[in-house]
């Protein structure tokens, strides 16, 4: 049976966007003839020409700034930050301009642009190649932040992101680039802003997104043996945040664990935990637990397994949910 990897699905999404709308352009470092260091833009220059998919000088602030300018003038740019940390030189352009342009111009200029950010660790990468920066973006008003975890979502969410009239930070979990589906890519998926219940369960809500979804499902399977029926929620986007799905789940289960790979302090996981505490106060049977990366710089490859959330850590958190009291 034919299988598709996430990298291929993303590539297909870009191909389809380029084919359907000639305002779409793709650019960045090594996205042209090389096809990107993760092959997401493979073949695009050959197929659509240098004007539609091209390499730029090595300058991330320039790349995002140029995308802003092109978006102001009729195009729909999709740019790549080669690794998560290498998006930081562009942070000022993202925060002070991309995120604010619609607002500062009283709605007269919108910026349809997508910033693709290969993110997270778990691939044995060197320092500065494994960070998780979603908190920076999610905290910034004016950005959409999308976090696919499945091959199908990678495809439809990227297409939907390109169709949006606002700047989108599109987080691609590097360690899932080679994850596969044997399904046809759907023409249409759930919209941005709608979470997916990846596994329904009665006892605990395990809320997560992006790179951590497979781990959540694994942990949910392992939890069965311990007698816990875990509901797994994949947020799919962090902004907008589908809090309705989250709170409905927690009101049902009465217990929640929030799982994310990024350092936990002042993070998206903090937000979700705080929100559950606020909205589900009377349903909660135990405190909301967070399983996140430690508040340390991403470690070297040989120690990354000590850093990354694991099935055991998720199970420990679940075990900690004061079952004796219930």
């Amino acid at each position: 049976m034919a299988t598709t990897t996430m990298s291929e699905a993303l590539n297909q999404a870009l191909q389809d966007c380029l084919a359907e709308d000639d305002r779409v352009v793709v650019f960045g470092e090594d996205v042209g003839p090389l096809g990107g260091v993760f092959r997401v833009t493979d073949g695009l220059t050959a197929k659509f020409g240098e004007e539609r998919c091209f390499d730029t000088p090595l300058a991330e602030s320039g790349i995002v700034g140029m995308a802003i300018g092109m978006a102001m003038n009729g195009f729909r740019p999709v740019v790549e930050m080669q690794f998560d940390a290498f998006g930081l030189p562009a942070f000022d352009q993202v925060v002070s301009h991309a995120a604010k342009y619609r607002n500062r111009t009283r709605g007269t200029i919108s910026l349809p642009l997508v910033i693709r950010v290969p993110t997270n660790g778990g691939i044995g990468g060197l320092e500065h190649h494994c960070d998780s920066s979603e908190a920076y973006y999610a905290h910034t008003p004016g950005l959409i932040v999308v976090a696919p975890s499945t091959v199908e979502d990678a495809y439809t969410l990227l297409r939907d992101s390109v169709a949006l009239d606002d700047p989108v930070i599109f987080l691609e979990p590097k360690h899932l680039y080679w994850s596969k589906t044997d399904q046809e890519l759907p023409r249409q998926g759930d919209p941005i802003g709608q979470a997916a219940v990846r596994r329904s369960g009665r006892d605990v809500s395990l809320i997560t997104y992006g790179s951590s979804v497979p781990l959540a499902l694994e942990a949910a399977d392992a939890a069965v043996e311990e007698g816990w029926d875990v509901e797994v929620i994949d947020l799919r986007s962090l902004v907008p945040l589908d809090e309705a799905t989250v709170t409905a789940s927690v009101r049902k289960t009465g217990r929640a664990v929030v799982l994310a790979e990024a350092p936990g302090f002042a993070s998206v996981a903090s937000e979700i935990a705080a929100r559950i505490g606020e909205e589900c106060f009377h349903s909660l049977l135990a405190p909301v637990r967070r399983v996140t990366g430690f508040n340390i710089p991403y470690p070297p490859p040989k120690l990354e397994n000590n850093y990354l959330p694991s099935v055991d850590r998720v199970l420990d958190a679940v075990a900690d949910l004061q079952w004796e009291d219930s």
Binding site: S61, M66, G69, M72, N73, F75, H97, R104, L241
Partner: protein
């Protein structure tokens, strides 16, 4: 690339020495081997705009004193740069102004009241950028220069002959974004003009502490971009040099970096105290090079400007400033607080919706009180 080509290329990119000038500080005219003096009509138009620009600038400073503007970065002394740059371009060429470009925007035809919206604290950008081909006035320095490259490159991809002009100050040339912008422009041969108003200060920091370069225009060569220097207090030279750069850009010749030598006659803004870092003698030497006086002398001496015309221009300036003053003092319609949530994203998130509801409820409650 052969050895000769490199040396040839290098010399073709270095700026004129001395800066291009047609009308000197005494109002005397000089020819230039490379550039052409603008037409008499253009110079008369420029003079009319200078008179208006100077008056509106003074009016704005007065409005600050009256508490009508939160802050105002004056264009005084730099009007030739701002006006010359706009007159040299087509109305459909894009401008990327900083906070200081009020006079440029007014010259472009934007309603002065809309220009002053930001400084009045009304809304960040008070005009419609697409209507005037003028981006919002930008405070984060040099960040808009790369937007200009994107806009210009977009036009080029569509085979339009639009040019984009990015304004920046001497200080802003030190920012990484300027480097990235001009490098992109060089590589993509984008039809952009980087127009540096070297007014010799970045707030309090003098040019010598900003760069050790022979001149700011010498920065172009490092990007394969031609650098040019111009007397920024000579509107004729500004118009000529920018027209030339715009023609080259339209013809596919790529970007130009233009450094205009000028001076910020006032403090950085009204909130600044320039006596802390510069001496009055220096200001005086630049007073003698005033861009308005100089053009006036030239036009009067050469018989192109008579008292009647002068009176007409003064009247026009009076009318514009009176209009601004009246509308300010009459009170402009306030922007309703609910608009705070209207332009954050095309479609509000659930989180924004509930915050907007909260604000609405608060406003309703206040209304009831």
């Amino acid at each position: 690339m052969s050895v000769t080509t490199i040396a040839e290329m290098a010399s073709s990119l270095l700026p004129s020495d001395p800066p291009v000038q047609f009308i000197d500080e005494h109002g005397d005219q000089h020819a230039h081997e490379r550039y052409e003096m603008p037409s008499p009509q253009t110079l008369l138009d420029a003079y009319a705009a200078l008179v208006v620009g100077r008056r509106v600038d003074q009016q704005a400073t007065t409005l600050v004193r009256q508490g009508q503007l939160a802050v105002y970065p004056s264009s005084q002394g730099q009007e030739a740069c701002q006006i010359g740059s706009v007159l040299a371009l087509r109305p459909t060429d894009w401008l990327f102004p900083t906070y200081r470009e009020s006079v440029a925007l007014i010259t472009r035809g934007v309603d002065p009241v809309e220009v002053l919206s930001m400084l009045r604290g009304e809304w960040h950008c008070g005009y419609e950028p697409r209507r005037h081909f003028a981006a919002p006035q930008t405070t984060p320095l040099a960040t808009q220069t790369i937007h200009a490259v994107g806009v210009a490159y977009a036009a080029q991809l569509r085979d339009e002959d639009t040019v984009a002009l990015a304004y920046l100050g001497d200080g802003a040339t030190s920012e990484g974004d300027f480097h990235e912008a001009i490098n992109f422009a060089g590589v993509f041969k984008a039809p952009v003009i980087f127009f540096v108003q070297n007014n010799h200060y970045a707030i309090s920091v003098p040019l010598a502490k900003q760069t050790a370069a022979p001149s700011l225009a010498h920065k172009g060569i490092g990007y394969g971009v031609r650098g040019e220097r111009v007397d920024g207090n000579d509107v004729a030279a500004v118009i000529s040099v920018i027209s030339d750069a715009a023609d080259r850009a339209r013809a596919g010749g790529g970007p130009t970096l233009i450094e205009a030598h000028t001076y910020r006659m006032a403090a950085h803004t009204n909130a600044d105290d320039a006596t802390r870092y510069r001496i009055q003698e220096e200001v005086q030497t630049w007073q003698d090079k005033d861009p308005v006086d100089r053009l006036r002398t030239y036009l009067r001496t050469s018989g192109q400007l008579n008292e009647e015309k002068e009176a007409e221009f003064a009247d026009r300036a009076d009318a514009v400033t009176a209009d601004v003053r009246t509308r300010f003092l009459a009170g402009l319609p306030p922007i309703p607080p609910s608009e705070l949530f209207a332009h954050v994203l095309a479609a509000p998130t659930p989180q924004l919706r509930s915050q907007a509801d909260q604000l609405r409820a608060e406003l309703a409650a206040e209304g009831e009180e």
